[in-house]
Point group: C2
Chain length 343, copies 2
DNA sequence: TGAAATATTGCATGCGTATGCAAGGCAGCG
DNA sequence: CGCTGCCTTGCATACGCATGCAATATTTCA
């Protein structure tokens, strides 16, 4: 059909075989680790391949082996530096094993994206979701197809979906204690989306611990994990008759919005008038301009765990979904009042 | 071979054909836009497909058609929010035409990454490079294979490589004039890497215009497009006997580093003691905490141009490489002293 | 040196889809 | 009613690689 679209047909194993004076299968074996080829012929083949500029056709290989060396990554909030970091770490670590990322940016409205169905078409080796959740249907289909699914930073009750999460409860608890020890009067929590399980878990731990400490009502708002969303609810909170003097944001990115609004629009001094604590410890949090107190959630560890899970599930298909939690720590900076004792 | 890895074999067109009582080719045609199928049979087929949970196998389709609907994206500085934005825009716009991104994060050391050779294996429809350059060998091979290459924001003299760039000369010229009108005494330019053509172009325009305006020597340093790199050279610049009072950074991201060091370590007032101007106008530049004067370079427009180019080259193979420049404008904020007149 | 064990090779086929070609079906027309 | 032409459909084959199996070459061991 396509004789010449102006482009020469790429050389194939047969071409290499012809030049090297061997069979096509010999060439194939030369590229298959552990296959039976004499060292001398392999060299002969590789030489011929180099001469022709041959590169194995991954699509054909995938068709034959059912393994693509492609991992699908679904992500919603690429503007949040934390997730940019996740992408980067994941890409670099997968590359070490010759794998690549097929990117699916999903709309941040929480709903599972229909375009995600494409993962089944591309025969990806695994599907990693960060800050998104898979639909029930997709989960079932992937499980049937033997494609492991790992969700980073989102909960899910769906069958066969592995979870990697940060230290949600512990962090929220410690932050509650830290703020309380700092002698604040009125507390607020700015979560992500209403549906986000992760956000809910942090909220419950934060509010719960504060209640134990005698704080009756804690303000709760949702910034939808976006800068603009967080800015809006911050504006609302700070406009109240009795505005909060301590805000815990479910992500650094939203905490930046809170700081921005507080300083720019309300002319507040941080941390004198208002303490703000974030979550993630993204690099920007340490900038002088932000100086954000936060709880670290190492992207590298999350990614390591995710890769570990998919590898183990690929090695032993049919294995049960796993659940991992990585550790972090409270990072003390200048955006939150410190307790008198620790001063 | 693989009888059951614990995973059922995914349904194929033949399975659908059997259930629908037609031939495999009929099923194929049902999924091919513009193919000859009766509407009644198509519906019958789609129904059967739905029933089986059939999804076309893109790898097989690619093998047969030599089109994968995959665009390779090579990127170095994912931590720079500007490029995160590029990735996001590109992903969303490609999705509109059913295409996806295969991600290649390359090491930021300027050298073309050997892992990029994989693009030839994956039979991608095009290759887009942002803030990286393709090796000569890769350029030749891609051209031979009919794979269009577009570089966003990097120059290249290689054959067959299209370029999409921001308003480098104009921006640098205007920034020079703006700073000069602001009555500064000592100017510095913090570029990216030494090899970066983009950086060099901006440097030349900036230094050249200042020279025209009577400024003899302009300090030139290289921050390697990284936050840390820019922080280091800023430290050096500000430690000089006669430190600059006006710095133009080749990216907002580096400008943040400059601001960070200036305020935190040198306790400088911006813009009274030091004016800083960036390039890109990333969202963070408008934050109160940064309030960065900069020159906009709309990621969306760059991406639009890139997609436009690859589409036109796919439509008419063998077409010559193209070169586009998108427009931007000087964004006045608080990080640089304004000329008296415009106050 | 000869036979058995092993390493290497080629042959043939399958992976799932697209498409040229020819055959069959149908409507329109005279 | 018969013929022409278009619309549908199926058949057969190609796409590039992997692999089981059988054939052959090489080594090992007695």
């Amino acid at each position: 059909m396509r004789a010449k679209d102006g482009a020469k047909r790429a050389p194939t194993e047969s071409d290499v075989a012809r030049l090297a004076g061997v069979s096509q299968s010999a060439v194939s074996r030369a590229y298959t680790p552990g296959a039976s080829v004499a060292e001398s012929t392999r060299e002969k083949i590789l030489k011929a391949a180099r001469e022709l500029g041959y590169h194995p056709n991954m699509m054909a290989r995938t068709l034959a082996t059912n393994r693509s060396n492609i991992v699908a990554l679904a992500i919603s909030y690429l503007d949040n530096p934390f997730y940019a970091q996740v992408v980067r770490e994941l890409s670099e670590k997968l590359r070490e094993t010759g794998r690549h990322i097929l990117l699916f940016t999903t709309s941040p409205d929480g709903k599972a994206d229909p375009a995600l169905e494409d993962v089944l078409s591309y025969k990806v080796d695994a599907l990693i979701l960060t800050a998104t959740t898979a639909s029930h249907e997709l989960a079932v289909q992937c499980q049937a197809a033997g494609v492991p699914i790992v969700q980073i930073n989102r909960e899910s009750k769906l069958p066969g979906i592995s979870i990697v999460r940060g230290p949600n409860e512990l962090a929220a608890t410690k932050i509650a204690e830290f703020l309380h020890a700092g002698g604040h009067l009125r507390y607020a929590f700015i979560g992500g989306t209403v549906e986000s399980g992760t956000s809910k878990v942090r909220e419950n731990a934060f509010v719960g611990r504060l209640r134990e400490l005698g704080v009756k009502d804690v303000l709760v708002a949702h910034g939808d994990y976006t800068f603009e969303g967080a800015a809006i609810v911050t504006r609302q909170l700070l406009s109240m008759a009795e505005p909060p003097d301590a805000i815990f944001c479910a992500s650094d990115y939203m905490a930046f919005a809170t700081l921005d609004v507080a300083k720019r629009e309300f002319n507040l001094k941080v941390p004198d008038d208002l303490s703000v604590i974030g979550f993630d410890n993204v690099p920007a949090a340490s900038r002088f301009a932000w100086d954000l107190t936060t709880y670290s959630q190492p992207a590298g560890l999350l990614v390591d765990a995710a890769i570990d899970i998919i590898d183990s599930m690929i090695a032993r298909p049919g294995r049960r979904a796993q659940r991992r939690e990585v550790q972090g720590e409270l990072i003390l900076r200048g955006s939150a009042k410190r307790p008198p004792a620790s001063a």
